[in-house]
Symmetry: C2
Subunit: 131 residues, 2 copies
């Protein structure tokens, strides 16, 4: 986790998907899927270097150190890669809430025949974190 990847032999293939690969964060303790964000090569290298999740914010067009504003960062314990080397799976220890809406996981709603149903409890009030 401390060395930077030198080429695609040891990591994701950033020649794919325009250099922006989906990265899934999964809670290493209970297996919960917490969120999906994107990584460019710099974000991946910074994640490996720091041991905490760093994504590329598509809306802001720059690296996004997860938790930089909220303090709710992710300690990365394992990084897995899929067969096509174009999706990243992070097994993380989530500090606080992964979701900016205050839920532990961004996947707090289920699609049902009656519409979207909230299936999780809110951990925190987003207004207490994002001012």
């Amino acid at each position: 986790m401390n060395s930077e990847p030198k080429n695609t032999e040891i990591g994701p293939d950033f020649t794919k998907n325009g250099g922006l690969l989906p990265a899934i964060a999964q809670d290493i303790e209970n297996g919960e899927v917490l969120m999906l964000a994107y990584m460019n090569e710099a974000a991946f290298q910074e994640t490996c270097r720091t041991g905490t999740a760093v994504y590329f914010s598509r809306s802001r067009g720059k690296l996004w150190h997860k938790g930089e504003q909220s303090g709710h960062h992710q300690t990365v314990e394992k990084i897995l890669i899929d067969c096509d080397q174009d999706t990243i799976l992070l097994r993380v220890r989530q500090h606080g809430a992964a979701c900016h809406e205050g839920y532990r996981s961004c996947f707090f709603r289920e699609c049902t025949d009656e519409g979207l149903q909230v299936v999780s409890d809110r951990l925190i009030n987003p207004e207490d974190v994002y001012r």
Copy 2:
């Protein structure tokens, strides 16, 4: 699971990402992340209608009924959506192997300082399935 979504109020927002949203398949029994593929609106509706995972194959440019060739389909038990309504999470019962390389999960390799390490056992020989 049997009705088709009428609008974004009850499902993913296919006006985002050029109409192609990442969909994570997670084993409902043990929480394992099995794969990531993409869905357009037609794939999502077909998934809801049939109760089995249907993706959009970017390489073939058409709907891909998971398991159509291998028989290794996914029964969809729950569909969750993230806060931004642009990522789909399927909780599925995986029949056979999710990965075309014969592993139960596509995430069978870990990125380590020594390169990619296989961390799962192969379930099947791909040559027995894909001829």
